[in-house]
């Protein structure tokens, strides 16, 4: 291996690692706040990328139907509760947000072929279609089980993952998609080509991470999430509703997922089920951070990206084997260094 290849692979690894790092952060966030191990994180990556690809092909992405269906379910579930409690004033906003806006989005997409929009507005439309799925899924699947054990929540996550994979196949078909690059710029670094798209991914990820940092350090909602992560009961006593915290962090996780998908869509072909493995690699990073530490999780994810990239050069067929076997020594190391803390379950 010469320097050129070394650099090329490193570039690849860092690009993917940056995406895994974003996902790892989202996973740590969701786990810390809600105790949900968010396996479907990867599906948001695929949905983001494939929704954008559908828009660019001039199709109405199936995501909008899911948005409508979930929105209606949420409206029915919450509407029933509001009716029984006699809180009629809350009904109109509930209906507008969960049924009205998705209907409007569907109508808009049919009225105006989305492939004529400029690229940046396609990105915005794709994000707007995918992000609301996060809090809606939280409401429908997780909220009724919010006090269940980590294990039950994990099984729910797997069920949500499986459902989204099936729906992804229904909406986007079995063929993969790749979107055109956001930039055609290319540089040269020590003899190796450096794609503008790569720089974009790394810079965008870094900016998003910095943005998240300020969100958690400086805003009241960020602080509320941190408080909930540290002590759910305490946060609740201080007036932070656990449902709000749950919805908020699922919104963030969906946004991070969709954004990551849109970022990598021009680099790799994304299939309806690609998200699972991408998300799990973020997971390996998150586990390196013990599902608790953000910086260690991000570094771990970068390490996963680099390991994947270099192992694809040496033993491409065993790339996945190597990456997922990495988790075993990591778990061993964690189990030897961390003290087991008894968790009271049910």
């Amino acid at each position: 291996m010469d320097l050129q290849i070394l650099l090329l692979l490193g570039q690849d690894g860092i690009t993917n690692g940056a995406i895994y790092a974003l996902l790892a952060l989202a996973l740590v966030l969701v786990f810390a706040v809600t105790r949900v191990i968010f396996i479907p994180q990867g599906e948001f990556v695929a949905y983001g990328a494939l929704t954008l690809a559908s828009l660019q092909m001039g199709k109405v992405p199936g995501t909008v139907w899911l948005l409508l269906a979930l929105g209606t379910t949420v409206a029915v579930l919450d509407g029933y509760k509001l009716l029984r409690a006699g809180r009629f004033a809350k009904l109109p906003p509930l209906l507008i947000f969960n049924i009205g806006l998705p209907l409007l989005a569907a109508a808009g997409l049919f009225a105006m072929p989305p492939n004529q929009l400029p690229l940046w507005s396609q990105v915005v439309v794709a994000m707007l279609l995918v992000i609301p799925l996060g809090p809606m899924i939280y409401r429908v699947a997780y909220q009724p089980l919010a006090s269940a054990s980590v294990l039950v929540l994990l099984i729910v996550s797997i069920a949500v993952h499986v459902t989204l994979i099936g729906l992804g196949l229904l909406f986007f078909g079995a063929e993969g998609s790749r979107t055109p690059p956001f930039t055609d710029l290319s540089f040269e670094l020590a003899g190796a080509p450096l794609q503008g798209q790569t720089i974009l991914v790394v810079v965008a990820s870094a900016l998003l991470i910095i943005g998240l940092y300020f969100f958690f350090e400086r805003t009241i909602y960020g602080k509320a999430l941190r408080a909930t992560a540290m002590n759910r009961t305490g946060a609740r006593l201080m007036g932070i509703p656990p449902i709000l915290a749950g919805k908020l962090c699922f919104t963030l996780a969906a946004a991070i997922g969709a954004f990551s998908g849109i970022l990598i869509a021009p680099i790799t072909t994304i299939y309806y089920d690609s998200g699972f493995l991408i998300g799990l690699k973020g997971f390996v990073g998150a586990i390196i951070g013990g599902l608790a530490s953000y910086p260690v999780a991000a570094l771990g994810a970068l390490l996963v990206g680099l390991l994947e990239s270099y192992s694809s050069f040496y033993a491409s067929a065993f790339k996945e084997v190597i990456v997922f076997t990495l988790i075993i020594p990591v778990l061993l190391w964690r189990s030897l260094t961390s003290k087991h803390i008894e968790e009271e379950e049910e």
């Binding site: 191990i37 499986v162 459902t163």
Partner: protein
């Protein structure tokens, strides 16, 4: 007989169905059987033990690939490769279990997802295993000279394995080890205090589940006579868990129900959904996913309990168990030094919960540890019983230092305890709960339990538990679920459980809380009797009348420090104690 009627009917139907049903249905039943074997393992692991794995399909694959490779390449007998496959599976499961089971509950499932994926890719990429095309030409199995060629022949073999697996797991759960396994789900603290080696037990149930999966893989390979990586991927691993959860994760028959439902539903959905949707693909997973979410939200115990309600109510075993008396440890002479704690300090970060605390307990005396809330009494208990070891200081039990001893080994030496927050298994009967206390007085393992070779010992243990229940005065409630008792009575059950271990030192954490006056009197009488038999009792209690009447010596704590020690009447006059309890006299 009526109790067994549904099972007998089910087995009879199973036995005649190959004679009546078409080939296609038999094949379907074969697959249901194969899946049920794996799901039964998951019931033990997840439903009973509270651990879970999404990687069971990979263990199925290990069993299938081992026999496929060894029979086709080396021409080994399938009966030999069965055991080689089981051995390889055991080895892998031991390594994985050792690494992941030590950690919190969710690391095991995550580890199994990763391991399920990597094994799938490994099967698909190893040249000698045929890559993604797999291995063909796997020989048939011959049983007593009879070659099992058709799926009808195989049917009986598969279902015999299913029924044997169910029988073995049911037997196991109804035994000393089974009670310990059931205790795992509520956290390991109580089980450890009763002397159960919980890390070992977790590995054992993980191993049993893996071996059942491997067995299913071996059957699969010889039924199909062809293997490729697809049925051993993570998706199948997830489906196994779905089967167990939808069927009823806490019941062995739920595994069969779940395997049947999912397999038939899948068959049906795979025919219809592509036609309805106008596309081909595995759309049944959408239905399964949504069904899972609904089951978890609405009927977390699955469909089997729903079905059970339709059957006539079963009469529980209500006969008081009879058995010979278990051997007791030699009693310690009154006045012997049992426990000596010197300068025990316990820190939680910056907080000092116990500050250089010393106390002793002799045989044949009641030592009371009192003090206001938050004084560090329960912390001291946890230090002594080894649950949460002290940061500094010396603790010796029967002359031996216990500083580096885990709580189950301290229990083995003859110390038993109750908990301030009652730790009973609410679904289990009082008798079974108390029998957990006798864990260390039996020795039969999981094999003996599965094969019912443990009945003699089991009877002796249950009889001992029954005697202790009668001793504390709860004979009437012996067969009721522990969770249905009043809190005060539950505390008494905890005392019976502690007594069932035949201790020489008893640690009681607020035993009288929640008891009525008469019950308190009965408890005091019981403790007095135990003292006269030479037992040492260390007591934490807030009821001063109870303490002052019963205790021989009292230690008073405040803010982690000992402020007074002496006979009850001295303590009652001690100015420091009065200040701590009543506020200072200015």
């Amino acid at each position: 007989m009526t109790r067994h009627f549904p099972i007998v009917l089910f087995i009879a139907l199973l036995a005649v169905s190959p004679l009546l049903l078409p080939e296609f249905t038999i094949t379907l039943l074969n697959y249901i059987g194969l899946y049920a074997i794996v799901a039964v393992g998951l019931v033990l692991l997840t439903g009973v033990g509270g651990l879970t794995s999404f990687g069971q399909a990979a263990f199925v694959g290990l069993g299938a690939y081992t026999t496929a490779y060894l029979t086709t390449v080396y021409g080994l007998s399938p009966w030999l490769t069965l055991f080689i496959g089981l051995a390889i599976t055991a080895l892998v499961a031991l390594c994985l279990g050792f690494i992941t089971l030590r950690m919190g509950g969710h690391y095991l499932p995550l580890g199994t997802i990763a391991w399920g994926i990597s094994l799938y890719f490994l099967f698909g990429n190893l040249e000698f295993l045929g890559g993604h095309t797999g291995i063909t030409g796997i020989p048939t199995i011959a049983l007593f000279g009879l070659e099992l060629k058709s799926s009808r022949d195989f049917y009986y073999l598969i279902w015999i394995v299913v029924l044997l697996a169910i029988l073995a797991i049911r037997n196991l759960l109804d035994s000393r080890q089974g009670r310990a396994i059931r205790a795992l789900k509520g956290g390991t603290v109580m089980a450890e205090a009763m002397g159960v080696n919980t890390p070992r037990l977790k590995i054992v149930i993980f191993l049993i589940a893996a071996l059942l999966a491997s067995m299913s893989g071996w059957l699969y390979a010889h039924l199909q006579r062809f293997v490729n990586p697809t049925p051993f991927g993570i998706n199948q691993g997830i489906e196994y868990l779905f089967m167990a959860v939808i069927g009823g994760i806490g019941h062995v028959w739920g595994a069969v129900l779940g395997a049947g439902l999912i397999t038939i539903l899948k068959q049906w959905l795979q025919d219809w959904l592509p036609q309805i949707l106008g596309q081909s693909g595995n759309f049944e997973i959408i239905v399964f996913g949504i069904a899972m979410i609904i089951v978890l939200q609405r009927a977390r115990d699955g469909l089997w309990p729903v079905l059970l309600k339709l059957l006539p109510e079963r009469t529980l075993k209500r006969r008081r168990p009879n058995g010979e008396i278990l051997p007791k440890r030699p009693s310690t002479a009154a006045g012997t030094l049992l426990l000596k704690a010197e300068e025990v300090t316990k820190r939680f970060g910056g907080l000092i919960a116990n500050d250089s605390l010393s106390l002793t307990v002799n045989a044949g005396e009641v030592m009371a540890l009192i003090g206001p809330n938050g004084a560090g009494k329960s912390t001291m208990f946890n230090c002594i019983s080894g649950l949460n070891p002290a940061s500094a200081g010396k603790i010796a039990f029967l002359g031996q230092s216990t500083v580096a001893t885990v709580s189950r080994d301290i229990a083995r030496q003859g110390m038993s305890r109750t908990f301030q927050h009652v730790r009973l298994l609410g679904q289990m009967s009082v008798l079974e709960n108390v029998a957990i206390g006798g864990h260390l007085r039996g020795s039969k393992g999981v094999f003996a339990a599965a094969l019912r070779l443990d009945r003699g010992e089991e009877n002796r243990l249950l009889a001992e538990a029954a005697r202790q229940i009668e001793r504390v005065g709860l004979a009437e409630q012996m067969f009721e679920p522990a969770g249905s008792l009043a809190l005060g009575q539950q505390r008494i059950v905890e005392i019976a459980r502690a007594l069932c271990s035949d201790p020489c030192l008893l640690l009681l954490d607020e035993p009288a809380a929640g008891l009525r006056y008469k019950e308190k009197q009965a408890l005091a009488e019981l403790l007095g009797k135990l003292r006269n038999e030479g037992m040492g009792i260390l007591l934490v209690e807030h009821d001063m009348d109870f303490v002052m009447e019963l205790a021989d010596r009292v230690v008073v704590m405040e803010f982690g420090q000992k402020i007074a020690e002496g006979r009850p009447e001295e303590i009652q006059r001690d100015p420091k104690v009065l200040e701590a309890y009543l506020g200072g006299v200015e």
